[in-house]
Point group: C2
Chain length 278, copies 2
C-alpha cells in the first residue's frame, strides 16, 4: 500500500468515526481537518499543569476569531484556585473534572466593559438593552472559545465545555466577582487527558439531515435518523450511557422540565445580573 | 539567523499584528496557532468555485464541534443560487460579497428538527420554550460555524460572517424556506479572496483587558485602552474606516438606536418565526 492510499484510508476512517456508515466521501483535506474531526470532550484529567504561556496562546487564538463590529463582547477568567474550582464543580452538579483540570476558563458574555465606556464618556448606549445585543455577546464568546478549543487540541491538550455554569449564573458571578451586565456563558476545562479517558469520537447526525441545499428540506430525515439511532445505541452501550438511541436521548433531555436543572429560570437570573433583554 | 530564530521572529510578528505593541510573549505554538492568529474577514471574492467536496468537509468539521447534550441544535443551508444570494445581499444592506462569493452558508438555529421528534413521538417537550434553550441553540450554531471557518481557512479559503442576516430574520426565513422555530443566526461567505482584498489582521484589545486571573478585575483597563485606541486609529486611517479610535467606534455603534438597523425588533421577529423565549 503506498502512502497516498494509506492517507486516504486514514481520512475515510476519520469520517467513519464521526458518521458511521453514513460518512460522506473524502473531500479536500489536511492535518487541521483531521484534528477537528478527531475532537472529543474529555472528563478526566492528569494533574500536570499546562505549560507556561499556554493560556496566553489560547486567548490570542480566541481573540483572533471574528467579533461582531469589533465590539469584543467577552472576557475570559482563568481559574486555577482549588477552592474556586471545587465550588464551581458543585454548582455543575458534582463534575469532578472541573476540580481535576489544571486550568478552568470561565467564558464571560461581558456587556459591562462596553457599558463602562458609556459611563466614562457620558453617552447613552441605546443599543444595549435588546435581545439582539445579548445574542451577539453570547455568539461572540462562543466563536472565541471555539478557537481556544481548536488551539488547545492542536497543542495536545484536551477540553470539555461546562454548560452547567448556567445552573446558577448568579452564584457563579458571585464566586468570580463579575460586575453587573456580565455572566459566565459556559466554562471550559483544559488539561491533559488521563489515558483511559481519552474517549471516543461521538457520532453525529448524517449530513443528509443537517446540511440543506438552497432551501431547508425535511426530506428523508426520519429515514436517515434510524441508522443514526442504531449507531448511537451501539455507542451508548459501549459507554454505559443511559439512553440507547439518539431519539430516546432527545426525549429524555427535552421532555421533562426537571432535566433543565433550574435553567428555565435563566431570564430571572440574568435580570438579577443586570441584563435587560427586551 | 538560524531556522529556530526565524520561526520565533515569525511568531512574534504574528502576535504583533494582532496586538500591536501590547503583544504577549511567544508561548507554546504550532502551525494551527499561526493560522488562527492570521484570521481576517474578507469582503471581496474571486468567481472561482470552491473545489468539489469542500462543503462536505466544512460541515464535517462543524459537526465535530461540541454540542450541548448532543442535541445538535443547528442546520446549515448552502446557497449558490445567484438570485437568492442577491436577495440576501439586499437584506444585508447591499453587501456585494454575498453575491460575489461562490458559496454562502446560512447557519440556522434549528429548534424545528427536535420539535418534529416531539410531534412524531407524541411527547410534550417541556424544555423548549425557554431563553436557556434558545441560547444553547445559538451557541451550538456558533461553535459549529467557527470550526467551519477554521477548516476553510486551513484549506486556503477566506470567509466573512454576515450578522446582517438578522436585519430581517423573517424575510431570510422566507427566502430559504425555513420551518417555524428556526432562523438564520448569521451567514458566512466562503471563497477565494481577491488578491487586493486579502486585507490585514485587525488589532484586538490587549490581553490585560480581556483576560482575568481567578476573579474579574477592571484593573488598568482605561490605561490599557489608550494605546489600543491609538493602534486602531492608525489601522482605521490605513483602511479608510470612519471611526478613528476603538472607543469612538464603540460610541458610534452602541450609542444611537439607528445603528441596529432594525434589529431591536428581534424579539418580535423571533415570535413571528414561532420561537417562545420565556
Amino acid at each position: 500500500m503506498d502512502a497516498l492510499t494509506a492517507e486516504h484510508l486514514d481520512r475515510e476512517a476519520s469520517l467513519r468515526r464521526r458518521y458511521g456508515a453514513a460518512a460522506p466521501s473524502v473531500g479536500p483535506w489536511n492535518e487541521t481537518i483531521t484534528r477537528l474531526l478527531e475532537h472529543r470532550s474529555v472528563r478526566a484529567y492528569r494533574a500536570d499543569p499546562v505549560p507556561a504561556g499556554t493560556l496566553e496562546t489560547l486567548i490570542a487564538a480566541a481573540q483572533s476569531a471574528a467579533t461582531s463590529s469589533n465590539m469584543q463582547w467577552w472576557s475570559a477568567i482563568a481559574v486555577t484556585d482549588p477552592s474556586t474550582k471545587k465550588a464551581l464543580a458543585e454548582i455543575a452538579g458534582g463534575q469532578k473534572h472541573i476540580e481535576q483540570c489544571p486550568l478552568f476558563i470561565a467564558w464571560v458574555a461581558d456587556m459591562a466593559r462596553n457599558q463602562r465606556i458609556s459611563e466614562e464618556q457620558k453617552a447613552d448606549f441605546e443599543c444595549m438593552p435588546w435581545l439582539e445585543t445579548f445574542m451577539v455577546a453570547c455568539i461572540d464568546v462562543a466563536l472565541a472559545a471555539q478557537n481556544a478549543v481548536v488551539a488547545a487540541e492542536s497543542l495536545g491538550l484536551s477540553t470539555v465545555y461546562i454548560g452547567a455554569m448556567r445552573n446558577d449564573p448568579v452564584r457563579v458571578a458571585g464566586l468570580l466577582g463579575l460586575p453587573q451586565r456580565s455572566f459566565v456563558v459556559f466554562g471550559l476545562c483544559v488539561g491533559y487527558a488521563m489515558a483511559e479517558a481519552a474517549g471516543e469520537v461521538k457520532p453525529r447526525l448524517p449530513q443528509g439531515i443537517v446540511l440543506h441545499r438552497e432551501h431547508y428540506a425535511v426530506g428523508r430525515e426520519a429515514a436517515l435518523r434510524s441508522p443514526y439511532d442504531a449507531e448511537m445505541a451501539v455507542f451508548s452501550q459501549r459507554h454505559e450511557l443511559q439512553a440507547a438511541t439518539w431519539t430516546q436521548r432527545v426525549l429524555n433531555r427535552l421532555g421533562p422540565i426537571r432535566s433543565m436543572n433550574g435553567r428555565e429560570r435563566m431570564r430571572t437570573a440574568l435580570a438579577t445580573l443586570g441584563f435587560e433583554i427586551r
